[in-house]
Symmetry: C2
Subunit: 220 residues, 2 copies
C-alpha cells in the first residue's frame, strides 16, 4: 500500500540530510519511487541553504553531523515561517539525542533500523502534522516533559518552618513585605524576620535569587 498512497496525490517533497553519501543513496533507492526527493546533502550549511531554496515538505534529518548536528539546522530555521517538517533519523536511541532534537523543533524521531514501509509511513504522518516516534523513544520525551521530579522531601525546604515556607511562597511571587504582611495578617517586621531567616537558611542573598530558587523547584 505504501507506493500507491503517495502516487495518487501530489508526492511529498523530501530533502535527505546525512553525512554519509552511501546512506543518502540508500534512502534514495528505497523511497525515491514513492516520494519526490528534491535533494540530498551532507553538511549543516548545505542543508540550511537547500531547505531555504527548495522548501521541501519533509526533511529527513540525521542527528549526528559535523558542525552542530541536526540541532544546528533546526535552530537556524527556527525563525523561518515555512511549514517544513523535520523527521530525525538516527542510529542513536539515546534519550538526550531525542530530547535535544525534539526540543529544537523536530516533529519526529525514528532510528535507522526502520523498515522501508515504516519510513514511508513516518514521512507521511509527519507531513500530515502528526508526531512520529520509534516505539520506545516517545517515552523519553514524555519523561522530560512531565518533568516530575517532585522532590517531595527537599532537604533545604524541610529546614524551613511552615510559616517561613508560607512567606517564601508569597515573596517569590513578587509581593512586597507590606503586601505579604497584609495578606497573612502580620506586621511588616515579622515578615522581614521570616524572609531573613529563609535567605540565611537557603544561603541566598536577596529576593531575586529566592524567586529563581523557587521557580527552579516549582513551588509557585
Amino acid at each position: 500500500m505504501g507506493t500507491d498512497g503517495a502516487a495518487l496525490s501530489v508526492p511529498i517533497r523530501v530533502l535527505v540530510v546525512d553525512d554519509h553519501a552511501l546512506f543518502r543513496s540508500g534512502v534514495n533507492a528505497e523511497i525515491g519511487d514513492s516520494v519526490d526527493i528534491v535533494g540530498d546533502v551532507g553538511t549543516v550549511d548545505e542543508a540550511i541553504d537547500a531547505i531555504r531554496a527548495k522548501k521541501p515538505d519533509v526533511v529527513l534529518l540525521d542527528v549526528h553531523l559535523p558542525n552542530g548536528g541536526g540541532v544546528a539546522i533546526l535552530e537556524a530555521l527556527a525563525d523561518s515561517t515555512s511549514n517544513t517538517k523535520c523527521l530525525a533519523l538516527s542510529v542513536s536511541d539515546a534519550a538526550e539525542d531525542v530530547i535535544a532534537i525534539i526540543r529544537a523543533g523536530a516533529r519526529g524521531y525514528v532510528t535507522k533500523t526502520i523498515t522501508h514501509d515504516e519510513l514511508l509511513d513516518a514521512i507521511r504522518r509527519v507531513h500530515a502534522g502528526d508526531a512520529v516516534f520509534s516505539p520506545r523513544l516517545a517515552g523519553f520525551v514524555l519523561d522530560a516533559f512531565s518533568s516530575t521530579k517532585p522532590v517531595t522531601s527537599d532537604p533545604d525546604l524541610d529546614r524551613l518552618t511552615p510559616r517561613e515556607q508560607e512567606v517564601l511562597r508569597l515573596i517569590a511571587r513578587g509581593y512586597t513585605y507590606k503586601e505579604v504582611a497584609g495578606r497573612i495578617h502580620l506586621s511588616v517586621k515579622t515578615v522581614e524576620t521570616h524572609v531573613s531567616s529563609v535567605l540565611r537558611k537557603l544561603q541566598l542573598s536577596n529576593r531575586h535569587e529566592l524567586t529563581a530558587w523557587a521557580t527552579d523547584r516549582r513551588l509557585l
Copy 2:
C-alpha cells in the same frame, strides 16, 4: 490477532476509570476478553484507592471527571513508586487537555473514537513502556515541549532602544543596578535611567513585573 497476543502471556491487568457506568461496561465488553480488568470505578477517590489496592498494570483514565479529573488522580499517585502506567481516554481532543494530563504523568492519550483493536494495541504499547497518542494529539505535546515561540518581532520590545534592551536583560536576571553598571561599564545612574524608561515604555511598575514579563517572552 488481538485476543491471541494477550492470552499467550499473562494478561495485562487494567483498571477502568470513567464516570459513566455505561462507558465502563462498554469497555469491559469490548476488551474484557483480551485483558484482565481488575476493576472499574467512577470517581477520583475510588480510583486512587483502587490503584493503591490493586496495582493494575495500566489505568484507562477518563480525563473529565468530577472533583479534579484525571489530573487529580495522577497527581495523587505521582509520589508512589508503582510502575502503573496511565492511558488517558477522552472525548476531548483539545490541546490543553492533552498537555495537562501528559504533564501530570500519563503515558498516552487516545480519543474515544478509537476502535477495539486500536485500544488493545494502545494498552499493550503503554504497558510495554511506549507512549501512545491519537494521530493529531502528539503534535500538541511537541509544540508545548519545544517551547519555540520566539516572537522575534515583539512590538513592545522593538520600542526599546538597543541599550535599553541590554539593560533589561540583565535586570531581569536579578542583577542589581550596581552589578549591571559594572558589567557593561556604566554609572549606576545611567542604569537607573535606562530601567526607568524601560518600565515606563512597557507600562510596568517594578522590576518584579519586569522579570515576569521577560520570562514570559523567554528573553533570558
